[in-house]
Symmetry: none
Subunit: 156 residues, 2 copies
DNA sequence: CCCAAAATCACCCTTTCGGGTGACTGGCTT
DNA sequence: AAGCCAGTCACCCGAAAGGGTGATTTTGGG
């Protein structure tokens, strides 16, 4: 009886995302069922349902989209001009995906707290990542890490 | 009779996006009406509709999300191949020689103390210069000041 | 299934940054 | 001479950054 929405697994490495998506869907269906039993006789039904679903899934889709670009951005080539990040050195230095994301935001002038907010993690986590970065980039300060990263073509 | 979806205008500077969104919605409703007249009697109706709408709007939402993030990316300014400092902006911002020297050393990853040593002045002096720089560059942190300076072609 | 790496978070402590204020000097202008 | 400004320095205080340690959860690969 339940509608099942199948997502392309290739685009979503996170089981968490799938799980959340599923839960959200279930919650929605449940809510709709509730509404259905109370107002089904009325005439606003179909359009009302559709509107609800539309709004909800648009928001959900936007969220998923944002999550995906967030992942992608760190891996893919930066759009600015002809810059291409040196993935060799990235691996050689042992810099992880998450650490690189922190590095990027750092170079844009974000504070640790701002980075934490943008990556949806705690301040302590960002501190840990940045500390690891400083070791891997042989830097003492964030400004030095940024400079070093640019020398190594890790940043534009 | 039509459900109206209201989007937060602050997040969408593009009228084109809104228009496309509206068109898509209209098209969907139209399509549903078509389907409705042909299969309404059958029992798969409601769940089927909801599934359709869900998939469609998830995709649409993801698309909108992607469009929005793409706008952000294109703002970044790529510095030219050979670098030449933009003295116009330097004067326009009212940045003095000494302040610029501090800015340069700052961008190389020096701490305030290191800058003080290299310029043969006291730590407090460097602090004063950097504070003035932050005001003139509209930055809150040194990393932001550096980024800003690069955008303005004050630094390579 | 298990393990290692990655990611997450917490706590404590020190150093560095940054804001605000005030003051003094030397050079240049009016 | 008076005024202005860049440059210099000091002090205080709060916020941010950074170091070190330990712990838990996710995730990916064998």
């Amino acid at each position: 009886m339940f509608t099942f929405v199948c997502l392309p697994h290739a685009f979503i490495p996170l089981k968490k995302t799938i799980l959340l998506y599923g839960l959200a869907l279930a919650a929605l269906i449940f809510l709709l069922k509730l509404v259905e039993y109370r107002f089904f006789a009325r005439d606003l039904s179909l359009e009302f349902y559709l509107g609800l679903v539309a709004v909800f899934f648009t928001a959900l889709g936007a969220w998923v989209g944002l999550q995906l670009t967030r992942k992608k951005k760190s891996i893919s080539v930066a759009p600015a001009g002809d810059f291409r990040i040196n993935e060799e050195i990235l691996k050689q230095k042992g810099i992880s995906k998450r650490e690189y994301e922190v590095l990027e935001l750092m170079a844009l002038g974000n504070s640790n707290q701002e980075i934490a907010d943008k990556l949806f993690v705690s301040l302590n986590t960002v501190k840990t990542h940045s500390s690891n970065l400083f070791v891997k980039l042989e830097a003492k300060r964030r400004t030095q890490a940024i400079q070093r990263a640019k020398e190594l073509s890790l940043l534009p």
